[in-house]
């Protein structure tokens, strides 16, 4: 199979970028999109040209490194797959394929198709955990968790942190990512003690990073390789409203009657 690729090339964050066209030939329809990119890079290296820089690692759809927008779709054609899982049989022989990096103010471009997604780490850092030290813990079966709750939490926990939700969102919002972690921990009893500080902390950090706001287009859900539901966003909204507006349970300190 033969394809014409139009790939966003940009030497550095400050350099001017543009599409550069390449032709790749003899591509097996069974090869993955990134294997096709590998072949392109091999060709470029053979010519002494700078190969296309892009993130990838596990190549089986779980690490979340892939960060390409292919033909206007985050991760490329198909549902529930990352770029590394896209097979070339999804394209027709002779197709023109446009490849851009994830675009978001919070994901500054590093080079070509490589972006910096450390904003996600900082969101997790702001509350996306249960604070526990390492060491002996109570017997886990002493805290029964209904099957359905565990499964629901797992639905949210499947997030791979790739950022396709941000890339696909017309507003560049990171709501799906943030809500998935808030919901994963919020649904489980282990996450209860820190729930409110988590929600407020993570949402605040999300805003600080410069992500956009949700206007309920559901593009994120469609692009998410793990099919994470926007119902978690709804859940987060409610949790956030409660956490910020609710009267705190504890009002500590003594009070004088004078």
């Amino acid at each position: 199979m033969k394809y014409t690729l139009h790939i966003w090339r940009q030497e550095s964050p400050s350099a001017k970028g543009d599409f550069v066209s390449y032709i790749v030939d003899d591509i097996s329809p069974d090869s993955s999109f990134l294997e096709m990119m590998d072949l392109l890079n091999e060709q470029l290296i053979a010519k002494g040209e700078d190969p296309v820089t892009f993130d990838s690692d596990c190549r089986e759809g779980i690490c979340g490194s892939c960060s390409m927008v292919i033909d206007g779709r985050a991760h490329g054609p198909g549902h529930g797959c990352t770029t590394c899982e896209v097979r070339m049989r999804s394209f027709r022989d002779g197709d023109h394929i446009y490849i851009e990096p994830f675009r978001s103010a919070a994901f500054p471009l590093i080079k070509d198709l490589m972006v910096d997604r450390s904003a996600f780490d900082r969101i997790i850092e702001s509350g996306g955990y249960v604070t526990v030290h390492s060491g002996p813990k109570p017997e886990p079966n002493s805290l029964p968790i209904p099957h359905a709750v565990a499964e629901h939490a797992m639905d949210a926990a499947e997030c791979i942190g790739c950022g396709a939700c941000v890339a696909a969102c017309p507003n560049g919002a990171a709501m799906l990512f943030t809500s998935a972690k808030i919901s994963h921990l919020g649904l489980l009893p282990q996450g209860e003690p820190e729930h409110d500080t988590r929600v407020v902390g993570m949402v605040h950090q999300m805003e600080q990073e410069g992500f956009g706001a949700c206007t309920n287009h559901a593009e994120c859900q469609d692009a998410c390789p793990k099919g994470i539901s926007i119902s978690f966003i709804s859940r987060m909204n409610r949790a956030f409203a409660k956490a910020t507006l609710r009267e705190p349970d504890q009002r500590r300190g003594t009070m004088s009657n004078q």
Partner: protein
């Protein structure tokens, strides 16, 4: 302080937009039901208009209740628009470099066009108030009752005789319908009342409500324009002889003047 923290977040603004949107939606429902009284005849609808002013008159005074409602609506509109404008600004900043090629897969025309239908509706509401409430704009004959309020039946009937006014009205209603189709569903999603079990019903509610509002509102201009709704008593469509008001000839003349 807590409210400020709430509103500083985009989620807070969204929820404010959703709640104010809900208020405006409820107003629209009431407004539409009022409009439908046109089919009960001029007396009924004009009496209804008067009733709105005299409702709880003893407590709020004449028109007092209506003014309270107006203030509430105005605040809702201002908050709705402010929140949305702030969100749009945030969203613009979130993607300074746009995609060269981007396709949409999940969203709807309604959702994508919120940013267009919103301003259109705002402009339309202003014109609508100027035309029918204050009578500042009088492209067609306009009349007031002795109580100093618009003669609803008369004014509507005359206005919708003009095809482009009727068309403008219908088109605006279509935009409101589109706005609500996304907005009503969004409202549940934004405040956190949506979930996969409920989503079907929420979606259905949004669809049915928006279409019902559209049909309810647009039926008036269409049926008036199509001469299904009878002219105000004593009027054959061109000359205005009224029964309700007293000093109407002058008003009519005035109205005609302003049209000239």
């Amino acid at each position: 302080m807590r409210l400020l923290k709430f509103y500083q977040s985009s989620i807070g603004k969204k929820i404010v937009a959703a709640v104010t949107g809900a208020i405006l939606f409820l107003f629209l429902v009431a407004h539409m039901l009022g409009n439908l009284k046109i089919y009960s005849g001029a007396e009924k609808i004009d009496a209804y208009s008067l009733h709105l002013r005299t409702f709880m008159e003893g407590f709020f005074g004449f028109g007092g209740f209506l003014w309270i409602a107006r203030v509430v609506l105005l605040v809702a509109v201002v908050l709705h628009i402010t929140s949305v404008v702030l969100l749009i600004r945030q969203n613009r900043q979130a993607r300074p470099i746009r995609y060269r090629r981007k396709r949409r897969f999940a969203t709807s025309i309604a959702a994508l066009s919120m940013i267009l239908t919103g301003p259109w509706i705002l402009v339309y509401i202003v014109l609508h108030i100027l035309q029918f409430t204050t009578g500042t704009l009088q492209p067609t004959p306009f009349k007031e009752t002795p109580q100093g309020i618009g003669a609803v039946y008369f004014n509507l009937w005359n206005a919708f005789q003009v095809w482009w006014i009727a068309a403008l009205y219908v088109v605006s209603m279509a935009f409101i319908c589109l706005h609500l189709y996304h907005g009503l569903w969004s409202m549940f999603q934004s405040v956190g009342w949506n979930n996969p079990d409920r989503n079907r019903n929420v979606r259905l509610f949004a669809t049915i409500s928006s279409i019902a509002l559209f049909l309810g509102f647009s039926s008036v201009p269409v049926l008036v324009w199509a001469d299904v709704v009878p002219p105000p008593a004593g009027q054959d469509g061109t000359v205005v002889v009224e029964k309700v008001g007293v000093e109407s000839p002058a008003l009519v003349a005035e109205g005609q003047d302003s049209r000239d």
